[in-house]
């Protein structure tokens, strides 16, 4: 009987999995950037933007996930909406790491593709949840 419960269970599961996956993603991408800088020719003025994007994405991820949890559990649409906005920023940064990084390894492609699909699914579920909360 989930007629009185508006919170979305799939969204909650997805947000939880996203959090765990993101920790793995962040560490793996950081390790690969370090590997690339040792093995390939990676000048400093190209290494800096890549690292900045990665850390910015990490900084964005924390409030994004927190707001998502909070909004879904309290059935409030404002935090969910804010989380959706932050998701758009994260998607942009993820696309940068997928396409415009200095070296895009095959592992990079896999990780970023998985993250992008997670973001996409999440966004869809959030929109549905907001629609459910509002109405």
């Amino acid at each position: 009987n989930n007629s009185s419960q508006l919170s979305s269970l799939p969204l909650q599961i997805l947000l939880y999995v996203n959090g765990i996956y993101y920790i793995f993603y962040f560490l793996a991408t950081l390790a690969m950037i370090i590997y690339k800088s040792q093995v390939f020719s990676y000048p400093d003025d190209l290494l800096a933007p890549d690292l900045a994007v990665l850390f910015l994405m990490g900084i964005l991820e924390v409030p994004r996930l927190y707001l998502g949890f909070k909004g879904n559990l309290t059935e409030a649409e404002a935090p969910l909406g804010l989380s959706l906005g932050l998701t758009v920023g994260s998607v942009v940064l993820c696309v940068y790491l997928l396409l415009w990084q200095t070296y895009v390894l095959w592992a990079d492609v896999l990780l970023n593709a998985v993250l992008l699909s997670t973001y996409g699914l999440e966004s869809g579920l959030k929109v549905t949840a907001i629609a459910a909360f509002v109405s």
Partner: protein
Amino acid sequence: PADTRDAARVRSAPAPLTDVARLCVCDLLVAQCDVNCCCDPDCSAEDFSLFTACSVPVVTGDSQLCNQKAAVYSLDVEANPPERIFKLIDQVNPSIFCIHATNYKQALYLKSPEIPTPENFDQLLEKFGGASFRAEPDSWDLDTDAQNPSEANETSRYEFGVPVQTEDAFLRLPSPVVTSWCSDANPAGFLVNQATKCIRSVSVEKCDSIQALSMLFYINSSILASVFQVDITVQSIAVQSLDGMRTLLSSSDVLRLPMVLDDLCINAVLGVNYHITHTDTGEIIEAAAAFVLGAISKEALSIEQSFEISFTQANTQPVLLSGNPGYVVGLPVRAGFQPQGYPSPAAFLIAALALSSNKHSQLTILQSTSTQDCLAAQGARAPVLFGYNMISGCKLRITAAMKCQPLAQTLLDVLKGQSFPEYVASFGNSQAQDVLDWVPITQLHISEQMISHTLQSPCQIPVSLGIEVKWTKYGSLVNPQARIVNVTATVTTTTLKQPPSGRERIIPITSSVVFTDISSPAEPSYKAWPTINIKLPFDFFYPFV
């Protein structure tokens, strides 16, 4: 055409070749087939049939790429004749860390270097002109300007032996190299006085086109010295006629160039004498050239040219040193006089003039002549050269009519010369003012007394003069300088035995110079043992003291 080619080159360097089908590492010979090189485009099918293996089987780009084209070359030895197989395949790298894409072009290909242009040349030179360079420009040393003034001083000052630089190259002193033919590539060294003679091939018809025969060739470039350039002026021109007689021209302003007149080529340079004046810090301030021009006749195929260069210090009289400071073996021993009326050696200050480059103030000994007659060969003297032991002599013909006393005086003149010096310079560069640098000549008389039963002392005539020069090594062990310590002139006299009338006797007269090295062996010196210096403080025993 050269300018447009340069302009086209400036715009871009050729793009790097990245197509694997056209890259071939083993193609070394241009337009020729390299052996066992399957990718060589110069090879035909017959060449391929002779190969045994392919030295380069695969041509790929970076092996880290995930997906790339590869050119594979192989030889099909089964076929008759063997043929080369070329395949273009897609190579896949199965590693998970293969490069899928890169946004950094230089990662996979070498960077095309920047083409130097007049605009970026200085910046490129600053970046890459040193002995080593880094990728980042070195911005730490901002005081490059501080180094430049000292460098400017270094180039203007010449050191001994450094070639004298002119506008285009060096001041040339043509000299013979290996053979006697003139070579124009001999630079004149600073403070190196040289005199050379060499032969140059000429032809009278083309004599105005041969550069080395014209005065301009020797004076057109100006010498680089300090901040300005020193032009070579014409000091004097002497014209030598065909029979060898020279006349000095009164005006040396007009430049006389060679030209063909009748069957002769006149105004051809036969000799150049450069005189360079310099300061005591090594800067050249003046340069002059004295020419000897002559005429070349039609039959002459070659002429002999002589060149000389001498350096004098400004505001000084040229005094030839015999070493600096120690005597150099082979240079004349410098000697001088104490002027008459000045008993004290301190008067040498005024006597400086007596020690100028007057050859008669050198230490000289009798020079043997072909006639070997002492009384006939008057005045031929040879300078005593440091380190060279010499002996010379002549034969004296004594007749009955000769008187002893005038004969003794004549012989003394013959042995000692007109002006036998009183002092000898201790060092090769001793100045006249430094009294203590001059060694007095000790004169000794030894008489070969024959046991005579007569009481009166018979007349003695000098028969030999022996000069013994004692010298020592002075200064450091690695660069010892020769220093004259003692000079002794010993005149040996003997009794004149008059021959009976009608007969004559011949006695030999000798003079010799001997150099003896009396240097004491070098003493080793050791460093002093370190001492322990312990001193109690002044107020150690306070309050008892």
